[in-house]
Symmetry: C2
Subunit: 426 residues, 2 copies
């Protein structure tokens, strides 16, 4: 069939935008063969059109006037690669209302305002795609929506933040959190202000998006409790190793008995599990369902070129499927209740720093028993001259385990706040 | 938009066919939400319509008359889940010519006769999809064609045969090849006649299909030299472990300097590489390209329900994209030459069983040097009372290494045929 010219607008022309522009230019033939369309960047919105760019667009492409992009009749589809909630969100809404399909790489926008954005897209009858908003080049969204379309996915587990995984991988080879973070910053794997990564906030946005697609029910960032890695100590990492596990920051989305639970926290992952061996800044997502049992996807979860690769794939899918009924709609088709967060069940690892005197172990054991939590494995050892208990508990609701720990924390023999992490079995 | 009824025909109604039929019935709502189409099995070709089935189709669906399926105007798309070259190949050709899109789960058919089948599909203007022919539920074909559409994938590495990986995983925990194979057979992971798996022939068909899609150039099964695992000894497995590596059967497709090399053979995989930790019967494929660096996909590579999941995803993609220009065409768009097989380069591991007398080591070293092959690591030890040399060679063309080994093999001090495996670095 004859090739059709498709004009692409870009919101933003920074690292990702330049890479999208370069990739469309250099892979134009491949894309035309796959879709019958030739994609060309015709407009790009930037703050300063005069600034030097990694990959220069054609003449008159850069503009600092949003209306010039929105109203340009040559713009058939737009990629939002500027980031931030505003003005990006307002621009995306205007474009969708104007009938332009949009591809977004903006996880904060999708995780916070997805419900509204998809409602606007549906009303306007145009596509909104967001593969690049999660795990960059790892095609989790497409696999969930298309390859697993007939699959009841009931659990998503992911290492979805490269910075924290780099830090934890580094700590597994020795050293403190502060040392590992400093090394990550020196190597460019962590930002000068790493708050968004180390607190788990970044991972929470990503797992919220993945849970939404996997379960077909909206999960917003506010629905996701998260804990980060700032309180991880070498003793916790060593304890994981001593139990044949690895300490990882994991996003966990669970669909159980018709209710959804989504959370981010440090977890002990058994060494034989695919997530245990994920090193450095890679992202890996595990999708568990009825027929597929477990499908694992991994790769670079960040980076300008990697993110651009996902943006281009989404652009291609938009132009390839426009005019069909295929996946035009929102991924959400039901409203599932949230599981009571205290009711989420797992086996848990617990670390207790206790006074080294008679009766302490018995008191801990009795307190867990009182809350109906039973102990699977226990190691008592000396840590810096004090006693430490490493426990692996049998599967129990997190609320019961936390209640037992709260009670223990009030006793004078408990020297510090207990540390708790779910165990992910292989 | 209003739902459109789509009639599905099945060639075969065995384990996979029944599972497809069940999945279309049970996931009809999900599929309709994604595509605006309701897929229903209206005809299924079987040898014996009276036989009991895992999931019974509706009345009058089963037929033993191919013409009844081909000429049924309600059949909009057909899934070929019967296997074998004939009559499956003839049926698929007739259906494509009759304008019916086909989805095939048949790796032998696609790997052997793909060129002809895709030519017929293109001429008829209908789709031929084949996700289920490789690695069952692991969506490698869709990811290569759609998510990595603008990506220059230059290397595909895969553990694509679950039987051999189970046997090698078992040997890594101790025991001989015969013992591990017997256990795999007892547990149902290996066929009573395991020839197709253990020789590497099954893996060769799969890596041929993946290479074709990844490089856009036809690779047929006959283009793929393969070696299996029948000659693997406990000493080889132990040597891998002693070098910090795992012995795996790997399909390797390489695009280098405009030429393609595709092969299957046992390889030594460094422990930090994602393929090293693949246990049991899982399949894992690693895709290496410019922008994405490395994307890894893993999951169950076989099984009736798992294969059916991929068939259903392909059916959904066919109905979702028919009428567009999206991926209607053959994945092949160029004819790349084959690399001279002797010119394929890698670092190699070599195991030599030699007479324990003076000068043997020197002779081996001199022979490698003569063929311009240099030694990176060497361990000499006693093995069953005889001397054994384990060597890791620097990157060299396999032809040079084999020439050196041929020369060494002619010397009386060489007690057995040398064993050679490429090393896959992390």
């Amino acid at each position: 069939m004859a090739s059709v010219d498709v004009g692409v607008g870009l919101l933003g022309y920074g690292t990702v935008g330049s890479a999208v522009s370069r990739m469309l230019a250099e892979s134009g033939d491949e894309i035309e063969r796959a879709t019958g369309h030739r994609l060309t960047v015709v407009r790009a919105l930037v703050r300063d059109p005069a600034k030097n760019r990694d990959f220069a667009p054609g003449d008159d492409v850069l503009t600092d006037d949003f209306a010039a992009l929105r109203d340009d009749p040559r713009v058939d589809v737009v990629a939002e690669v500027m980031g931030g909630i505003e003005p990006a969100g307002g621009y995306v809404r205007e474009l969708l209302r104007a009938g332009k399909p949009v591809v977004s790489a903006n996880k904060q926008l999708v995780a916070r305002e997805g419900a509204d954005l998809f409602a606007i897209a549906s009303a306007a009858g145009v596509q909104l795609r967001f593969e690049a908003s999660v795990c960059a080049a790892v095609p989790v969204v497409k696999v969930l929506r298309e390859s697993l379309v007939a699959e009841n996915v009931h659990r998503v587990l992911g290492i979805v933040n490269g910075t924290t995984n780099f830090v934890l991988s580094r700590m597994a080879r020795g050293g403190t959190y502060a040392e590992a973070l400093a090394e990550a910053q020196a190597l460019g794997y962590a930002e000068p202000d790493p708050t968004d990564d180390v607190t788990g906030a970044d991972a929470a946005a990503k797992i919220a998006i993945l849970a939404t697609v996997a379960f077909g029910s909206r999960v917003l960032l506010d629905d996701v409790p998260y804990r980060g890695i700032e309180t991880i100590e070498p003793a916790h990492v060593a304890a994981a190793a001593s139990f044949g596990m690895a300490l990882k920051l994991i996003g966990i989305a669970t669909l159980t008995e018709g209710a959804v639970d989504v959370r981010v926290q440090p977890a002990f992952v058994e060494n034989a599990h695919p997530l245990a061996s994920v090193e450095g800044s890679s992202n890996v997502v595990v999708l568990q369902g009825d027929a597929i049992r477990e499908v694992t996807l991994g790769g670079p979860g960040a980076g300008g070129i990697e993110t651009a690769s996902a943006v281009v794939a989404d652009l291609v899918s938009v132009v390839g499927t426009s005019g069909t009924g295929f996946l035009q709609n929102d991924a959400c088709w039901r409203e599932l209740p949230r599981l009571d967060p205290a009711g989420w069940r797992a086996p848990f690892y617990v670390h207790l720093a206790v006074a080294d005197r008679p009766g302490v172990l018995g008191h801990a054991a009795a307190t867990f028993a009182k809350h109906d939590v039973s102990i699977a494995q226990l190691v008592q050892h000396l840590e810096g001259g004090r006693a430490a208990l490493d426990l692996v508990l049998h599967d129990a609701p997190i609320g019961s385990v936390e209640a037992a720990l709260d009670e223990l924390s009030r006793s004078p023999e408990m020297l510090r706040r207990p540390f708790i992490a779910p165990v992910i079995a292989a």
